[in-house]
C-alpha cells in the first residue's frame, strides 16, 4: 500500500515536463495530464507495486510500472523492463491494484499472486 499527498505532486509539477517524463509513461500522461489527483494515484500504485514485489535495493525506474486506467475497465498494472524482471525473479504471476482518492491524498493497494492454489 502507498499513500501520496496531492501537494507533493503539485510541488513536483513546478519542475515541469522533466518530472512528468521521468516518472510516468506516455499512456499514464495521456490519461492524467497534469492533474495532481490522478498523478498521485499513479505514483501510489507504482510504489505499492514495488512493495508487493518485495523490492530490496534493485534500481527500478518508475516508468517500468504503468497504471492503466481505461474508461469502463478496472485499473490494472503493466510491468516492463526491470520491474518485469523482478516480478519474474519473485515468481509473481499477477498483480491486482485498487486506487482511491481522498480530499488530500490518493492511496493504492497492490496484491501480488504467485500462482494457483495447491
Amino acid at each position: 500500500m502507498d499513500l501520496v499527498d496531492y501537494d507533493e505532486i503539485a510541488e513536483a509539477l513546478r519542475r515541469g515536463d522533466r518530472y512528468l517524463r521521468r516518472i510516468y509513461t506516455d499512456e499514464e500522461l495521456d490519461v492524467c495530464g497534469a492533474n495532481p489527483r490522478l498523478l498521485a494515484a499513479c505514483f501510489a500504485a507504482k510504489e505499492a507495486a514495488m512493495k508487493a514485489l518485495s523490492r530490496t535495493d534493485q534500481p527500478i525506474p518508475w516508468r517500468s510500472i504503468e497504471l492503466r486506467m481505461r474508461p469502463g475497465s478496472q485499473p490494472s498494472l503493466e510491468l516492463t523492463g526491470a520491474a518485469a524482471s523482478l516480478a519474474q525473479e519473485r515468481g509473481v504471476t499477477g498483480l491486482s491494484v485498487s486506487v482511491t482518492h481522498g480530499s488530500h491524498s490518493a492511496a493504492a493497494v497492490v496484491l501480488a499472486s504467485t500462482g494457483g492454489l495447491s
Binding site: 516518472i23 523490492r55 534500481p59
Partner: protein
Amino acid sequence: MSALAEEIRRVLRDHARLPVDIDSIDDQTDLFRAGMSSHASVNVMLALEDAFDIEFPDSMLKRSVFESVAGIDAAVQELQKRAA
C-alpha cells in the same frame, strides 16, 4: 561539514518533508524511517539535479542512494566525477 553536505541538507530541509529537523539527524540516519515519503524522495532527487546540475541515471534509482545524507553525498560525488 563540506559545502556539498551543507547543500544536500538544504535540499532535504526544503523538499524531504521530514517531521524532524534535518540538523537533528546524522549522515547515516535512514531518511525513509525518519519519515521521508517515496514521493518526497522524488522531489529531493529533482531538487538535487537542479542544485548540482546533474541527472540521476536509472541505475541510481534505488533506495540506498536516497536513504541517507551519506548515500546522497556519495551519489552526487560520483555523478560530478563522471561529468568532469
